[in-house]
Amino acid sequence: MTARIVELRKGVLEKNDLLAAGLRAQFADVDVRVSNWVSSPGTGKTALLELLLARAVERGIVAAALVGDCATDNDAQRLARSGAPVRQIVTEGMCHLEADMIGEHLSGWDLRALDLLVIENVGNLVCPSSYDLGEDVRVALLSVTEGEDKPVKYPQLFHSSDVVVVTKTDLAAAVEWDRDAALAAVAAVNPDATVVETSARTGAGIDDLLDLLSTRTPHLQEAP
């Protein structure tokens, strides 16, 4: 038996990457800023997003959200109270969102009417890092209750993010959060990340985050 080696050179996630590139072009075409929020479960993504959407409505910024969870539409119901259009993506156990799910769940929405679209990924610090959703900005969230070294424990995800949002800063003193250590951990894996410190209870940092996500110049995520 003789063997022949045939070069293939194909990206394993090429199908997802092509769909994501299509979405990115579509978003750029209608001038909507898109961010992909990723964190571990319980970081406070939904509480922060609730406040962000309500603030967007007050400021006349037209925002919408897609929220991913393994089960239930609890988060979509919570977020819909802001008055912004919201849709739930139920992944039925899958641990991350993929580009085709985004495409499917956008059907019927007039993207031209939007300034900002937030995609809340499934709570998971590992798998979402591999899947481009066509976003302009990837946002990793880190709560003060989680431990300052989370970024170095999950370097792939924090490295692939453009913005790192610190949440629950109102609890910082109670949990003796070491701010310098946390910022050093972010810098160790992602020296170029923009850090925004927020609290969904006091509203701290919400306007800064809204400004950053709704006006940031879109750029292409590097291909994985």
Binding site: L8, S130, A188, P224
Partner: protein, 125 residues
Amino acid sequence: MHELSVAHAVVSTVVDALPSPPPRVLGIRVRVGELSGIVPRALEFAYDVAAQDTPLADAALVIEVSPVVIDCPACGPQQLASTHDFRCPVCGTPCGAVIGGKELEILDVTLDDTCVSEDMVEVSA
């Protein structure tokens, strides 16, 4: 733990590239970057499951792990020793400009040549 989805993507990408009828595939080589978010051991495990009942059932998977390489503005391309310390190993400057280590790609497939038709040449394109 999305290695099973990735393993299915590996198998379907190779199967789609094979001519019909598919030749016997002896092996495939995949490059996995340290920043790809994929754990090689988990991918090996998932691959065995994903390859069952496909033309890849007997094909051995070889995973080549590629390290993180940054492009230091002062020192040029430098390989990092870890995925959680993005400083140039030579001058110590923090640097996030990654030029290697995010790969997740199928490099090549090894086919049983006795049953390969000339159609396979298209695969290389």
